[in-house]
Symmetry: C2
Subunit: 553 residues, 2 copies
């Protein structure tokens, strides 16, 4: 038998942010690293999420030994339900990562059939010809690992997402020694996170936000609404500690933050003192200066708890004049308008809004390493070959330049989705191209409707059709002009009852919304879409693509 070579095939994340997925193949064995999703560009109307095309894995399904996860963010695990429904292979992840995966698979009723295998940082395990050593790294999420994959031709190190936080709030330090050891052993190829390749210097540690947040807690007289990414476990922990220090009770409002906190508590990452956490229904029982409300929705998502509170449409989260709303997060590009819309609503309620606009001090830090951390990693592990991962083309290119500037790797390779990189002990060459692409999935963006979030492929469009409710709203009065019209394609055009009832649903949704909501077309579209989806699913057992069109008259 000829000496076999290693193949490295990125299926997603090299040429875009999100949907990270990479295959390593040696002979007839394939190991997959991560299975992420991406949120779509606005051009893809009606699409909720995008996942990588895994034709390559499906064509070679008998070879796929498993999927190894670096951590629990959506861009690393969010594609799992779709991928597992096509290809049911074992999934390896740390305890916390698997807790997120479980919740996700349960939502999609895939949990019973899934094989989830827990891995431990520092504990090697075997997958076919690969021996995988997870190495603890620090990031905005907890229990994250890099993967040192020992292959017959050498060690491939995939960093996953990381920053080098020298004082991690969870007490689990970044394992510098393990990386230094790898450097001594010799690393064949380093695949490194490109997210912050544009940022000079070092990324501040998670604890760097404490002084400024402490000031804000100290200076606030009324309620504090604290919003961060629901997976920012460190940040949630810090908020709880500050609330406790300043004599405030903590209420959790919003499904995602509630969920995430529950997992973090179960696994011991957060251990709030007895009595600190109250039920949202108890908010009214406490004085405003005794409350800190952790609330979902930093990105202005129309159906999030914060968006609803901003238009005074949340049962428990009431925003009163003089309350403070603290957004301890960044603006993900593309979400600006939604976020500013929420901020404007909050300002109209006379809330004080503190967000990361550069003028409010260090209230948020990134979870990704900056240039010096990227250089440090390269110097620590001294790879022969270097391949940037996670980023748009320009980030990968910048990262190539950065790696070259260190003078460490023998060769730096700009790989894109679908490229096949073939490696042996001495060489790394692009040798081909496999099918890759983006698969659009019409999930349900209404977070409340768990039972409805069955993943479907856009390919079913021909089957289930297109459903376009057209609503004319009088901008002056906020009233509906005439009846909503419904245009369909490939579905229900011949069913006047269904169309009439669907129209009634739209009218009812509009009527039951507040005036402030009706002026917020993002919210209205989401509500109409959710209500229609449930109705059509129930009455016609179909899942058409629903695209509400709102016209201002």
């Amino acid at each position: 038998m000829a000496l076999e070579k290693l193949q490295m095939i990125p299926l997603g994340g090299l040429g875009e942010f999100g949907m990270n997925c990479l295959a390593l193949r040696f002979g007839d064995d394939i190991l997959v690293i991560d299975a992420g999703l991406m949120f779509p560009e606005e051009e893809l109307l009606g699409v909720d999420i995008v996942v990588p095309d895994i034709s390559y894995l499906i064509e070679n399904r008998s070879m796929v030994r498993g999927i190894v996860l670096t951590h629990g963010h959506e861009d690393h695990i969010g594609g799992l339900p779709w991928i597992l429904s096509e290809l049911n292979v074992p999934v390896y992840g740390t305890e916390f990562t698997l807790a997120y995966v479980e919740g996700k698979l349960d939502e999609h009723r895939l949990l019973d059939d899934a094989e989830l295998i827990e891995i431990l940082p520092g504990k090697r395990f075997t997958l076919g010809p690969f021996s995988v050593m997870p190495i603890r790294v620090t990031h905005s999420l907890v229990d994250c690992v890099s993967l040192a994959i020992h292959t017959p031709v050498g060690i491939v190190l995939h960093t996953g997402d990381f920053k080098i936080d020298l004082s991690s709030p969870d007490g689990h330090p970044f394992d510098l020694q393990a990386f230094a050891d790898l450097g001594k052993q010799g690393v064949l190829a380093l695949l490194q996170d490109s997210t912050n390749v544009d940022r000079p210097g070092f990324t501040p540690g998670e604890k760097a936000v404490i002084p400024r947040l402490d000031d804000i807690f100290a200076a606030t007289k009324k309620k504090i609404f604290f919003s961060c990414f629901s997976s920012s476990i460190h940040r949630i922990k810090i908020a709880m500690e500050l609330a406790h220090k300043h004599g405030r009770k903590v209420a959790l409002v919003g499904r995602s933050i509630d969920n995430s906190t529950e997992i973090a508590q179960d696994l011991g990452y957060i251990d709030p003192p007895q009595g600190l956490i109250i039920h949202p229904g108890q908010i009214r029982d406490f004085a405003p200066d005794k409350l800190c409300i952790l609330i979902s929705g930093t990105q202005g998502e129309p159906m999030s708890a914060l968006s609803r509170a901003a238009v005074d449409n949340h049962k428990f989260a009431k925003i009163d004049p003089g309350d403070t709303v603290l957004l301890s997060s960044r603006i993900i590009p593309g979400n600006e308008k939604g976020i500013y819309r929420v901020i404007d609503h909050l300002e109209r309620r006379d809330a004080r809004v503190i967000h990361d606009d550069g003028t409010n001090g260090l209230i948020h830090v990134s979870g990704h390493g900056s240039q010096e951390e990227l250089r440090l990693m390269i110097n620590l592990v001294k790879p022969k070959f270097f391949i940037p991962v996670h980023g748009d083309y320009r980030h990968l290119k910048r990262h190539v330049e950065l790696a070259l500037s260190t003078g460490v790797p023998e060769k730096v390779i700009l790989l894109e989705d679908g490229d096949v990189l073939t490696l042996d002990k001495d060489s790394a060459q692009k040798t081909g191209k496999v099918t890759t692409g983006r698969v659009c999935i019409d999930n349900n963006s209404t977070a409340d409707v768990v039972e409805d979030t069955v993943i479907r492929d856009r390919k079913h469009l021909g089957e289930d059709g297109l459903f376009l409710p057209i609503i004319a709203i009088n901008k002056r009065t906020g009233a509906i002009e005439g009846q909503p019209e419904i245009t369909t394609r490939g579905f229900a055009a011949d069913d006047p009852d269904l169309l009439r009832n669907a129209r009634d649903i739209v009218v009812r949704t509009l009527e039951q919304s507040s005036e402030e909501e009706r002026r917020d077309y993002g919210v209205m579209k989401d509500k109409i879409r959710g209500d229609l989806k449930r109705f059509i699913q129930k009455n016609a057992n179909r899942r058409p693509l629903i695209m509400p069109i709102i016209l201002e008259l």
Copy 2:
């Protein structure tokens, strides 16, 4: 006759960025300041521009004495074609401002009927009971003025857009003395631009970009593509001077930058040495290091010259490996994805892209005054009443706080669109509300098609219908799957010939696009929309709302 009072009624721009328009009424006379447009939020599908609802002016049409413009940016003049077609009143503006207005009205075939009256900074003119003194200010555009409006109850000063540039590249200084004089005379009310109220300090002058741009010109070995807002006359001038200094010829590529430069040259704002400017067709005749190409499209607009060059689809602007593309502009929120898409395309062509991401030095400055300039203006003119203009609600609120912090105004008033503020010598009170709102206009976004840009009101939708071409694209191959389908509403459903021909148009547009364009859905939608619009207009003399829907399979 009872003593009459002054009414101040914002019709747009107080609660949003854009569509600035404000009415001043005294007795039976109304003066209007500015008539801007706004670009729509993405929720408003198929809408190109948004203009203020001017019902209030139409109801009182016999009282409207004229529209006075502060300067020529779209958010101050872009609504004119629509407003003048409803209400043909005289328009007052400076020479440069009127040159922009003329072009705009000509496009919409309204120029012949329009009465345009040139005003001069420092030269008072009368409009009914109002005596208006234009005062020269500095901004990113040239020939901009504040308006000091002498009314029977006192002076109302509207700043328009401004920064205090102490060394304006056009040699026309900010008229500090005139503002100081007003302060001595006593100003009843100051209305001030809120755009940069969040920025501490002073905004750098326009010339502050020169050192860094000079460095870049000096260090660049191949072609320089220089892109800025087409109305940034100062920036265009600076780019030309640097090109001249570094021995590069200048080619202007893109209709808007060409247009703008022509006006600036005609009016003496730009005076390039003989032979500096070459025709785009001559680009090929010069060595790369002898060329600077001024190109439209800093915001990633899909049909702009830069976007087309980025996908190698521009006749004259060819981007070769090693060329430098300099974006001397900011990212307008909401345009991030489009801009990054263009940057990614450029990077794939191995161009060096320099944009204002915080790491490239001072390559762009804002045209709006920061906090200290806003405070300085308040201190200079010492108004009795202060009213912030131009901004989302949160900016107006911040500006109220900033004005209060100066201790100068007796009263600070947060006014929103539609509020009626009634003033006399001693008091300012909100006394009512008039109808305001946003009117959506389905213009044509394809900048090339001048003859097609007749403004129409969305109210015609019932008449002209909705036209939805649905195209399924195979993401892997970029090929169209099956035939495009066309769904219509209220239009042409009974005309199989028209639908078949429209389908052919879509197929042809797709076929004639490069693979790179086909992967850029923003570009494809714009092209399909433009081609169909021309076809339907010509063959059916209708103007339906056209919304291409692209589905990835």
